[in-house]
């Protein structure tokens, strides 16, 4: 059935004899093409899942001879996994909190006051979002050496907050623009200050947007490898991204199953957070805040 239909579409003379087809029939070639592409994207991840359940895992993708959770048990030790995960949590939550606080404060005057200063400032901030962060890691290392901030978790947190801030300011201002000023005015009449109105009226109304920004920054910080790799030197302070690299960089050749298990446990929190954002706020919602400006 489908073969002639496809042939007639390929023919150049189809022209006017080409009525609008019912949706389900023309969808099948697109379905097949999509599924093939999707399979290509799943394949590398399939290895991760299968290897984590296989005691004798190597590079190849194979169904384990016997399913086992030994790999998970092996990496679920305080020193190997829990401490680094705790460090990741501290670093990411700290970064996201600092970023949010600075972004909300900055967004308020940018959203509420008219000034010639706003537009150039926003474009300067936008240029900041374009900065290739890996390019400034060598100079940042040099700066941290001179300021004696190397191996300091708070300083690393502040740096990561600064790198996330340009995007966060843009998104937060867009979300704040969507809250009508008239709602605040009532509070001013009652004698509330600008900052009180921001805290009690504006922020609760944009909490969904704030949640999106917080989770965006958190996911970025959680997954960041290069920044803590360069700035945090002592093992006790390193987040999971770095400890997984240094441990398996040394022992990886024998422990692929454990590497996969570690990777999965480390990835689960951000996958869960992403699902929350995508479900609650919608992809296009977050994207329009992030990309369109």
């Amino acid at each position: 059935m489908t073969a002639p239909a496809r042939a007639s579409r390929v023919a150049p003379s189809s022209g006017t004899a080409n009525p609008v087809r019912p949706r389900d029939r023309r969808s099948s070639p697109a379905d097949v093409a999509l599924l093939v592409l999707g399979a290509c994207f799943v394949l590398p991840l399939l290895w991760l899942v299968l290897a984590s359940l296989d005691a004798g895992a190597g590079h190849e993708t194979k169904v384990p001879a016997a399913l086992t959770l030994d790999n998970f048990a092996a990496v679920l030790t305080p020193g190997l996994l829990l401490q680094p995960l705790w460090n990741s949590l501290l670093l990411s939550a700290g970064t996201a909190t600092v970023t949010m606080a600075a972004a909300v404060l900055a967004a308020y005057p940018l959203s509420r006051y008219r000034s010639r200063f706003n537009t150039p400032f926003m474009y300067a901030v936008l240029l900041g979002t374009c900065l290739p962060i890996t390019a400034i890691m060598v100079p940042v290392y040099g700066l941290f050496v001179q300021l004696e901030l190397l191996d300091s978790v708070p300083a690393t947190m502040l740096f990561m907050a600064a790198t996330a801030l340009p995007m966060a300011i843009w998104m937060t201002r867009n979300f704040m623009d969507a809250v009508p000023v008239s709602l605040e005015e009532a509070a001013w009449v009652d004698g509330a200050s600008r900052m009180t109105a921001l805290r009690t009226i504006v922020l609760p109304l944009m909490r969904q947007g704030l949640g999106v920004v917080f989770i965006f920054v958190f996911i970025q910080a959680w997954g960041n490898f290069f920044v803590p790799f360069v700035l945090l030197l002592s093992e006790a302070k390193q987040p999971a991204a770095v400890s997984i690299f240094s441990f398996f960089g040394q022992h990886g050749a024998v422990a692929y199953g454990q590497l996969a298990a570690f990777s999965i446990l480390y990835s689960l929190p951000v996958l869960a957070l992403y699902v929350i954002v995508a479900r609650g706020a919608g992809n296009s919602f977050a994207m329009s805040g992030a990309v369109r400006g």
Partner: protein, 293 residues
């Protein structure tokens, strides 16, 4: 009176202060430090770490004479053109177009697979890609199954491997941008063209693409900037090797600074990367401004 007004005007912008301080100290600071340090012989350790000397344009002269630098620049262009401009961009567009024609359930399923590779922490994605392309990895299992040769991708074709890995990792961004853009096209436009007898490819070339050209330009700028900054993927998969065969600029800057201990030379490489990033960043902002006007 005007003085008081100005004072109040500035005071109103006080909430901007934390953000401005963070951006100045941790983003603008390192950028200026980079340009300044690239004219010195700052070292990682030893005498030149504490008391760097001004060496003028020596580092840049070395860049021009160093055979690795032009190689690295070429590899970076290849990496950006191959994985971002061609790979992510075209594949993302293809996925977005196919998703509009496919069944809803299929497009949701495939969308999840594509986004999963993007949401994963970069170090995990890099491990998965490393296993996929290694000698006895999944790709060679597939090729072997088809009766083809099993090359050692990471040694014989390192650039092919990292380009494909970055396409896998980053296509989700382009896909999301294009899905949002395609959703904004009124359905009547496509239907009118269909009634006039335009085939699928003609509609894509003469109607859809011109209508989303702004999104295409914006997307190209953003993925170029993101891809310029990719470090972890290349570092984990090949570490720039073998023999500099996949040393993109971020890897080169890192190696010069931390492996060979020459911060001054490393920042000179980083400065070049920053300049390239700035050109694309300014281009992106001009695009956005045109869009607003």
């Amino acid at each position: 009176m005007p003085a008081r007004l100005r004072g109040r005007g500035l005071l109103r912008y006080l909430p901007l202060l934390p953000a401005v301080l963070l951006l100045l100290v941790f983003l603008a600071g390192p950028v200026f430090w980079a340009f300044q340090a690239s004219f010195t012989n700052t070292g990682l350790t030893g005498r030149h770490a504490r008391n760097p000397e001004w060496v003028g344009l020596d580092n840049y002269q070395r860049l021009l004479l160093d055979p690795v630098f032009p190689l690295s620049l070429g590899l970076t262009v290849l990496f950006v053109a191959g994985s971002a401009v061609l790979g992510q961009n075209l594949l993302g567009l293809a996925l977005a177009v196919l998703m509009r024609r496919a069944r809803r359930s299929v497009s949701a399923l495939v969308g999840t697979a594509v986004v999963a590779a993007w949401v994963l922490p970069e170090i995990v994605a890099a491990f998965a890609a490393y296993a996929y392309f290694s000698r006895d990895g999944t790709l060679n299992q597939l090729l072997g199954g088809l009766g083809m040769g099993r090359p050692d991708w990471l040694y014989s074709w390192p650039m092919v491997a990292v380009v494909l890995a970055n396409v896998w990792r980053g296509t989700a961004f382009s896909m999301l941008v294009y899905r949002a853009a395609l959703n904004d096209i009124p359905t009547e436009v496509a239907e009118a063209a269909q009634v006039d007898g335009a085939g699928g490819w003609q509609r894509l070339a003469f109607i859809t693409l011109p209508m989303i050209r702004r999104s295409i330009a914006t997307n190209l700028m953003l993925i170029t900037l993101q891809t310029l900054a990719v470090f972890t993927l290349v570092w984990v998969m090949t570490a720039g090797g073998p023999a500099n065969a996949s040393t993109t600029l971020p890897v080169l800057a890192y190696q010069e600074a931390f492996k060979f201990g020459d911060i001054g030379y490393g920042t000179a490489v980083a400065s070049v990367l920053l300049l390239i990033g700035a050109v694309f960043g300014v281009g992106y902002i001009r695009l956005l401004r045109e869009e607003k006007q």
